[in-house]
């Protein structure tokens, strides 16, 4: 393949670099290592990420 591989993308939540082990597929889910947000690959060239829709998580007391 001649496509230049992008190995990280920016987390839209916390601006951290999110690494990929292999070329990402569209709609793949990844977790940001910094803020643990779940992210969806929304474009692949370049790779961009958006927060994945979440089941509302209840953390309250």
């Amino acid at each position: 393949m001649t496509v230049q591989e992008q190995t990280t993308a920016r987390c839209p939540e916390c601006a951290a670099d999110v690494p990929f082990a292999e070329p990402p597929r569209l709609s793949e889910l990844v977790e940001c290592g910094e803020c643990q947000v779940e992210l969806e690959v929304v474009t692949v060239q370049p790779v961009t990420l958006a927060p994945a829709p979440e089941v509302e998580e209840d953390w309250g007391e």
């Binding site: 209840d58 953390w59 309250g60 007391e61």
Partner: protein, 348 residues
């Protein structure tokens, strides 16, 4: 209203939860109330004392399905927040007096509600009808109130800590911060990945780092903006709040103490605790488990200018069910301590 002859027939809605169970315990021991019905969706038909094993031998009641709830003198609502506001109109048909322990009717301003609870209120027109169920601030109005909304557990502690100083004009300009600490029963009885024992045990979990919901209730009651953080601590029951407040010029410890003593002199359930000796100098929740006391204390910085206010209570009693019963006592003209005499334990 003055006292009445026969017992008051009461129902607890949402009696399988922790606040519901505490209401059941207190009402079973209340000499003027007949606890007739306890509802649960999940456990209809099951014995109440299987869910709340402390009540074994004290009651033969079984849970009633919510749809079978009939007329009573008083309804006490202990459902998770969001339920009461939708169901309220129907419930108001079933009883003259309704006491809601959920968060739904605590905030008078529907916009504030929406900002803190993430959506519009389902019955905004009813908000104004509810009286805040805090006898220390609203005793007079509670005497004939038939829609009562009991404040949140940490809010109650913070309000009882802050209100005397605010009311007496002793607060200076500047930010009031509230640091709440709560045991695990504060988040209810539903199991989740966050409250399984091995995860929740020994926690110091800053679950609300910047703006806990109860700060809206505090601001509403005390009239000063408050910033509130909250931490889950190792305890089942118990809430403690630390409020850091600016003091008006020249306010010292003696002046502060005088305000609290005057303010709470005749209160049956608030004790001023600010000792200079002994192991228990400032309020701590562990000796309050099961009791309806809110202990309130303070420490004024020796160099002046600010104070730390500390309050503690049992979130399920003075922070919820006990406070609701105290409201009923006020409402029905009964002695205010009735059914709420348990003082708490030491050691604990």
């Amino acid at each position: 209203m003055t006292g009445r002859a026969g017992p008051v027939r009461a129902a607890v809605v949402g009696g399988a939860g922790y606040i519901g169970g505490e209401l059941v315990r207190l009402l079973l021991g209340h000499p003027r109330v007949e606890l007739a019905t306890v509802t649960s969706r999940r456990l209809a038909g099951r014995r109440v004392s299987t869910t709340h094993p402390n009540l074994r031998g004290l009651t033969e009641l079984t849970f009633t399905a919510p749809e079978d709830l009939g007329r009573h003198d008083v309804l006490l609502l202990a459902t998770e927040h969001g339920l009461a506001m939708g169901a309220m109109r129907g419930l108001l048909d079933l009883a003259d007096t309704v006491v809601d322990l959920s968060a739904d009717f605590r905030l008078r301003d529907p916009a504030v509600f929406a900002a803190y609870y993430g959506g519009p209120h389902a019955a905004p027109d009813l908000l104004a009808e509810f009286v805040t169920g805090l006898p220390e601030l609203h005793r007079k109005r509670l005497r004939d109130a038939d829609r009562i909304s009991v404040p949140g557990c940490m809010a109650t502690a913070a309000i009882l800590a802050l209100h005397p100083l605010a009311d007496a004009g002793l607060l200076g300009a500047g930010e009031v911060t509230v640091d709440g600490r709560t045991g695990s029963s504060g988040s209810g009885s539903a199991p989740s990945a966050a409250n399984v024992h091995a995860e929740r045990s020994g926690a110091l979990r800053v679950f609300a780092p910047t703006a806990h919901r109860h700060q809206a209730e505090i601001t509403q009651a005390v009239g000063v903006p408050a910033r509130m953080t909250a931490t889950g601590v190792e305890a089942v029951r118990g809430v403690q709040v630390l409020c850091r407040v600016p003091l008006a010029d020249g306010v010292d410890e003696a002046a502060t103490r005088a305000v609290y003593r005057r303010y709470y002199r005749d209160e049956p359930f608030v004790r001023v605790v600010a000792a200079r000796r002994g192991t228990y100098r400032l309020p701590e929740p562990k000796i309050l488990a099961g009791s309806n006391f809110c202990d309130v204390g303070f420490a004024v910085d020796p160099h002046g200018g600010w104070a730390l206010l500390v309050a503690a209570l049992d979130n399920l009693v003075k922070g919820g069910a006990g406070n609701a019963v105290q409201c009923l006592n006020v409402r029905f003209g009964w002695p205010e301590r009735l059914g709420l005499e348990f003082p708490g334990l030491h050691p604990a």
